[in-house]
C-alpha cells in the first residue's frame, strides 16, 4: 500500500542523509522524495512516498521519529489529504500531432510553458496517477524528456503539521 509521509526536519547538514540512509539500512522503499525549507528557516519539510504493509509502515514512522533531526512527522494517507506532484514534460509536437498534444494538455489542465517549432514543454500538476494518465494519453506523440517533482502533500481542513 502506498503511503505519503510528511516530515519536519531540522534544517541541518546531514539530516537528509540520515533519513535516506535509514531507508537503505533497514531495507525500506522510497518511491519518491522531495525536500525544501519551510517558512521557518530552521526547518525543512520532506515528503516521501513508500510502499509497505501496515507493520512495515509503522516501523518506518517509528524509526524516522527516533532520528534526532526529525522534529515531527505525519502519515498523510491516514487522513483526508491533498496530494500533488508537478511534472515538466517535453514532447515532440509537429505535424498533425501538434494540435493533438495541445488539446490533450488542455484536457488535463496542463500549461505549455515553452514552445519551439517542433517541441512543446508542458507543465502539469496533480496526483501521481493523473501524471501517469497524461503520459499514457499522449502516447502517440514522442516524449523527449520527463521530470517529476515527486509527491508533496498536506492534510485537509484544520489539521496542520507544525511545531
Amino acid at each position: 500500500m502506498k503511503r505519503i509521509i510528511s516530515v519536519l526536519v531540522e534544517n541541518e547538514p546531514g539530516a537528509l542523509s540520515r533519513i535516506v540512509g535509514l531507508f537503505s539500512q533497514r531495507n525500506y522503499n522510497i518511491e519518491t522524495l522531495n525536500v525544501a525549507p519551510t517558512e521557518d528557516n530552521t526547518l525543512s519539510r520532506l515528503t516521501l512516498t513508500t510502499v509497505g504493509n501496515p507493520q512495515v509502515v509503522e516501523q518506518i514512522t517509528k524509526q524516522l521519529n527516533k532520528l534526532v533531526d526529525v522534529v515531527k512527522l505525519v502519515d498523510l494517507t491516514e487522513g483526508a489529504h491533498i496530494e500533488r506532484e508537478m511534472m515538466l514534460i517535453k514532447v515532440r509536437a509537429s505535424g498533425p500531432l501538434r494540435a493533438e498534444v495541445k488539446r490533450t494538455a488542455d484536457i488535463f489542465r496542463g500549461q505549455i510553458v515553452d514552445v519551439t517549432s517542433s517541441v512543446y514543454t508542458i507543465q502539469l500538476t496533480g496526483t501521481g496517477e493523473k501524471l501517469d494518465a497524461f503520459i499514457e494519453a499522449i502516447g502517440q506523440a514522442q516524449v523527449l524528456e520527463v521530470v517529476r517533482s515527486g509527491v508533496t502533500g498536506i492534510s485537509r481542513g484544520e489539521k496542520v503539521l507544525s511545531l
Partner: protein, 576 residues
C-alpha cells in the same frame, strides 16, 4: 569569563561533564587536544594499543558503571578502527561518546592525508553524530552528545572535530551549559497509566505467567523493581543474554537464560505461558526462534523505552512505552492498590510444571561430565563461580561457545556484572571491556572469559594492562578451534571443519610472560580449583589462564532452526 582554545574546551567540557577516564590514541588531527590533555589533571587518559580497544574499554566502563564511556581517536584510520566498537555499543544500547579528530575544515572533502568521512561512515551505527563547525560550539555540542548518549534508549554518539577548530592560538569564552534542550528529542519519562492498568488486569487473570526481562532492565536501573514485582506475584523469571543479573541468577524463581542456548526450563515455560511480561527486551531472533511459532498461547505485555522496539518482530497485546523503572514503579503500586495476585491454584500447578522441567533434567543446564580426565568448559565456569562468588565479581566475555557457557553456568545475582557483546557478537570485546571495568573497580574481581580465537583479536592490549596495572584474570577456554563455528559445522555441514581450527597457536603462557604478566597452563581437572584460587589471589598481577578444555564439546540446549521456542537439541543425540 575564562578564555580557552578549542582543544582546551574539549578537555574542560569533558571534565565538567564529570568524565574520569578517556581511552584513546593520539594522531595528527588530535595533537592540539592531546596537548591540552597534557596540561591538565582532572581526566586520566589511557593509551590503548588499537583504537577498537579504546571503544570497548569505554563500553566496558559504561556497562559496569552505567555512565557514558569516552573514546578519543584521531582522523582516518583512528576513526575507522572505532567502527566495530561503536557498532557493538549501538547494538546493545550502550552510552558512549566517541570524539574523533578530522582534517582541517577547509580541506574536508579533498581526500587529505588521514581523511575519512567519519560522520558518514558511522551514521548507521550511532544514536546521533556531530561535525563541529565552530570552536565556540564545542561545549554545547559535547553537552548534547552526553545528553543523547545516556537518556532515552542509550547509544553511542560521535563528535567529529576538525583540526582548525582546536587551534591552540585562538581563544574563546568558555561556559559549559548545565542543560541542553533538543526540540526534536523528548524521550518518555513515564508510562501510560491506562496501559499499565490493562497490564495489571491481564496479570490478575493469568494462569501461566512468566517475566521475560532483558538488557533494558540493566540499562534502565530497574532490577530492584523487577525483583520486587516478581516476588510479589511469585512468577517465574527468565533473562535474556543481555539481561543476566537483572534478576538474581541464584534465586528459586529464576529459570535460566532463554533463547537459542537458553535452558530447557526457560524455553518450555515461555512456549507454554499464557502471559508474557516482557520488560526491556526486543524479541531478538536469538530469543524467539521462528516468530510465527512464537509462544502461541501467550498474551504479551511489552514494556520498553523505545517505541520502535515494540511490535517490531512480535506483536504486543499491551504495549507500554516508557522508562522501565518508572513503569514498574507504577505497576507495583497498582498491583498493591488492587491487591492483584495470580490465582493460587493455577500458580501452584504452574510451578509444579516448571519444577518438573527444571528437575526432570537434573538442573537448568545439565551436561555430561565425562570421565574426569579432560576438562569440560562448563566445569571451568562452575569453578570460576565457586572461586569468585564470595566477592563482587565482574565477568566479561568474548563471543562463541565460551560466552554461552559463561552465560549458562555463572549465576549473576546483580546487574552490570555480566558484560558481553550480545547484539553484534564482537570477538575481541572481552579483554578491553574487562580493562575498562577494572580501571573503575580496582578492588573487585574482574575476569574475562574468552577463547583462543577471540583473545587473539585484541591480544595487543596485554601491553596496556601492564602500563596501567589492569590486573584482570583471563580465563582462556582453549579448545584449539573456533568452537561455535565448529559446532554448527558438526550439526549442519557433516563435520566439514572449514577454517574453524587454529593451527600454530601461540604459547599463551610465554606470551603473557613476554607482556610482563603471569601465565598458567591448566590441563588437569584436579588442579583447576587450586590454580584458579592462586590466580585470583595474585591481586596485583594479570594472570592469563590458558585452560585446555574438551575440544569436541557443544553448547546445549540449542533451539532448532525455524522451530518454536521449545524445539531444542538437548545433547548431540537427544531432542525435544
Amino acid at each position: 569569563m575564562e578564555l580557552l582554545s578549542g582543544a582546551d574546551m574539549v578537555v574542560r567540557s569533558l571534565a565538567d561533564e564529570g568524565v574520569e577516564y578517556i581511552y584513546g590514541y593520539p594522531g595528527g588531527a588530535l595533537l592540539h587536544v592531546y596537548d591540552a590533555i597534557f596540561r591538565q589533571k582532572a581526566i586520566t587518559h589511557i593509551l590503548v594499543r588499537h583504537e577498537q580497544a579504546a571503544t570497548h574499554m569505554a563500553d566496558g566502563y559504561a556497562r559496569a558503571t552505567g555512565k557514558p564511556g569516552v573514546a578519543l581517536v584521531t582522523s582516518g584510520p583512528g576513526a575507522t578502527n572505532t567502527i566495530t566498537g561503536i557498532a557493538t555499543a549501538y547494538m546493545d544500547s550502550i552510552p558512549m561518546v566517541v570524539i574523533s579528530g578530522q582534517v582541517p575544515s577547509a580541506f574536508i572533502g579533498s581526500d587529505m592525508f588521514q581523511e575519512v568521512d567519519m560522520v558518514g561512515i558511522s551514521r548507521p551505527i550511532v544514536k546521533h553524530s556531530f561535525l563541529v563547525k565552530r570552536a565556540e560550539d564545542i561545549p554545547e555540542v559535547i553537552k548534547k552528545a552526553f545528553h543523547l548518549a545516556q537518556t532515552g534508549r542509550p547509544g553511542p554518539v560521535v563528535v567529529d572535530i576538525p583540526k582548525d577548530i582546536t587551534d591552540l592560538s585562538k581563544k574563546y569564552e568558555y561556559h559549559y551549559p548545565e542543560k541542553v534542550r533538543l526540540r526534536s528529542y523528548n524521550p518518555p519519562v513515564k508510562g501510560h497509566n491506562g496501559q499499565i492498568r490493562k497490564a495489571v488486569e491481564l496479570l490478575a487473570e493469568a494462569k501461566k505467567p512468566i517475566i521475560y526481562a532483558g538488557g533494558g532492565v540493566v540499562l534502565g536501573k530497574a532490577s530492584e523493581q523487577l525483583t520486587a514485582l516478581a516476588k510479589t506475584l511469585n512468577v517465574p523469571v527468565t533473562n535474556t543474554l543481555m539481561g543476566l543479573g537483572a534478576y538474581p541468577g541464584s534465586d528459586r524463581q529464576f529459570v535460566g537464560m532463554l533463547g537459542m542456548h537458553g535452558s530447557y526450563c526457560a524455553n518450555q515455560a515461555m512456549h507454554n505461558a499464557d502471559l508474557i511480561l516482557a520488560v526491556g527486551v526486543r524479541f531478538d531472533d536469538r530469543v524467539t526462534n521462528n516468530t510465527s511459532k512464537f509462544c502461541p498461547d501467550a498474551k504479551i505485555i511489552h514494556i520498553d523505552i523505545d517505541p520502535a522496539s515494540i511490535s517490531k518482530t512480535v506483536q504486543a497485546d499491551v504495549p507500554i512505552v516508557g522508562p522501565v523503572d518508572a513503569v514498574l514503579d507504577t505497576m507495583i503500586r497498582q498491583v498493591e492498590e488492587t491487591d492483584t495476585r495470580i490465582g493460587q491454584e493455577a500458580l501452584d500447578s504452574w510451578w509444579r510444571q516448571i519444577n518438573e522441567w527444571r528437575e526432570g533434567r537434573g538442573g537448568l543446564f545439565p551436561y555430561d561430565k565425562g570421565d574426569g580426565l579432560i576438562l569440560k568448559p562448563q566445569q571451568v565456569i562452575e569453578t570460576l563461580y565457586e572461586v569468585t562468588k564470595g566477592e563482587d565479581t565482574y565477568i566479561t566475555s568474548d563471543v562463541g561457545q565460551h560466552q554461552m557457557f559463561a552465560a549458562q553456568y555463572y549465576p549473576f545475582d546483580k546487574p552490570n556484572r555480566w558484560i558481553n557483546s550480545g547484539g553484534l557478537g564482537t570477538m575481541g570485546f572481552g579483554l578491553p571491556a574487562a580493562m575498562g571495568v577494572k580501571l573503575s573497580f580496582p578492588d573487585s574481581h574482574v575476569a574475562c572469559v574468552t577463547g583462543e580465537g577471540s583473545i587473539q583479536m585484541n591480544i595487543q592490549e596485554l601491553s596496556t594492562c601492564l602500563q596501567y596495572d589492569l590486573n584482570v584474570k583471563i580465563i582462556n577456554l582453549n579448545n584449539q578451534a573456533l568452537g561455535m563455528v565448529r559446532q554448527w559445522q558438526d550439526m549442519q555441514y557433516d563435520s566439514r571443519y572449514s577454517h574453524s581450527y587454529m593451527e600454530s597457536l601461540p604459547d599463551f603462557v610465554k606470551l603473557a610472560e613476554s607482556y610482563g604478566h603471569v601465565g598458567m597452563r591448566i590441563t588437569d581437572p584436579a588442579k583447576l580449583t587450586s590454580a584458579m584460587e592462586e590466580a585470583f589471589s595474585l591481586k596485583d598481577r594479570l594472570v592469563f589462564m590458558d585452560i585446555q578444555v574438551d575440544t569436541s564439546e557443544h553448547v546445549y540446549p540449542m533451539q532448532i532452526k525455524d522451530g518454536n521456542m521449545a524445539d531444542m537439541w538437548l545433547s548431540k543425540t537427544e531432542r525435544t
